[in-house]
Structure formats: structure tokens, C-alpha cells
Symmetry: C2
Subunit: 129 residues, 2 copies
């Protein structure tokens, strides 16, 4: 475990690396988030994605509230070891807190961003509790 | 142009947003880099990916040295508008300065990272000039 963590460069961006979550079955990009060393350690230990929330400044076990956890199927790092790619199984299909399948649901068209992509759940129902 | 730039949140990470380059034909993730407002403006104007190099602290027209430019086919942003996904045509096939097709060529297997992915060019020949 420590050997793996040592190979990732957490020093470039305030202790964080960029983490991209990709649907293992389809290859679709579901979201981008950030990890510090502890969140990568927990991800490796638990087999589910744990990120560092930059807005809440705390560890974020993805799906802890919605139940839509991400089961990790494979992990890659890039040439300079400051980004991580997770191939995951997205429980509940939707990765985005808006209820969209992917967070990248706004596409630039004719000079503006328009909504695309599947709406899987109603966020007001899922996060109301 | 200014309307588009205003919709992106450059304030969360020192003026930068994360930018993911995806092969438009295959959906494969080729690399992750960063953009400031000026690099996104140039990307929109030129139709080729221009990033901000965090290590060199300057604008980086991807492929300026190798010729392996990225022709932008579509642009998406995510739910909180602090990440950008570019669907691109990768001239020269390889996106990585190592000569690999994708920068994410190291896969975690049996407790260590092993090299996977196609080697497209020899970096010593391409960057020797």
C-alpha cells in the first residue's frame, strides 16, 4: 500500500491529484474529482472511490448519502503521476449529484452550453432526507 | 466568446480548471491538463487545444513542438463548471510526450504500476530537434 502511494505525486497541487471516474462497462467519463493521499489509501483499502471534497474540505466517500457508490475495477496513473483514472462500476447509474448520469452534461453548441445526457434521478428526492 | 468564458468557474483553483482530452473517435481518455481563461479563449478561437502548463508556467499549444496538435470536435463542462472535457482528433495518434497514445499508460496490478498501452513514437526522435 505505502509503495503505491509513494508513486503518486501529491506535491504539485496542494496535496491533491486529479481523479477521473470512468464507467468501466462503457468507457464514458462520469466525473472528475480530487484525491489526497488519505483518500487514495481509503479507495485502495475499501475498493470504493473516496475523494477529497475541495468545497467541504473533508474526505468524501462518494455515494455516502445517495447510496450511489463507485466500485473500483481498475486504477491507472498518468505519465507524471499527478492524475488518477478510476474505472468504476457506478451503483445507481448516475454519478452526478444533479441526477444526471455524467457530470459532463453541458455541451457547447452555437455559442452557449446546452443540457444533454440522461437524467437518472430527481435530486430533490434523493438528497431530501 | 466572453459569454462562454463567463460560464466557467476559474476561481476555485488559482485561475485554472481541469481539462480532460478524449479521443472523439474512440472515447478513450488521452490526457488531463489545465486551462486558464486565456488558454480556453485561444482553444475556442483556434479550434486546437491550448492548455496552461503548470510546470513551465506558460501557455502551451499542445503539439507546438511535436506537431501532434489536438483538433477540437466538441466541448463539455461539468455540473459546477470547474472542469472541461474536450473531444478531440489527436493528430499523430499519440497524445503523451512519452510517445504513448494515452498518458494513462500505467495500470495498478498486483500492488504496483505496470506499463500498458500502445507506444506510437520514440520521444527521443520527436523531441531531439
Amino acid at each position: 500500500m505505502e509503495d503505491i502511494l509513494k508513486q503518486i505525486d501529491f506535491n504539485k497541487s496542494g496535496g491533491l491529484v486529479t481523479a477521473i471516474a470512468v464507467d468501466d462497462a462503457t468507457g464514458d467519463i462520469l466525473m472528475v474529482a480530487y484525491m489526497n493521499e488519505e483518500s487514495l489509501r481509503l479507495t485502495l483499502e475499501q475498493g470504493e472511490a473516496v475523494y477529497w471534497s475541495r468545497s467541504r474540505k473533508k474526505l468524501w466517500h462518494k455515494g455516502e448519502q445517495s447510496g450511489n457508490v463507485q466500485r473500483v475495477k481498475a486504477i491507472y496513473t498518468d505519465c507524471d503521476a499527478d492524475a488518477i483514472l478510476l474505472r468504476i462500476e457506478q451503483v445507481g447509474i448516475a454519478a452526478c449529484h444533479t441526477g444526471k448520469r455524467s457530470c459532463f452534461y453541458r455541451k457547447l453548441e452555437n455559442g452557449g452550453f446546452v443540457e444533454v445526457g440522461e437524467q437518472i434521478f430527481d435530486p430533490e428526492k434523493v438528497y431530501a432526507k
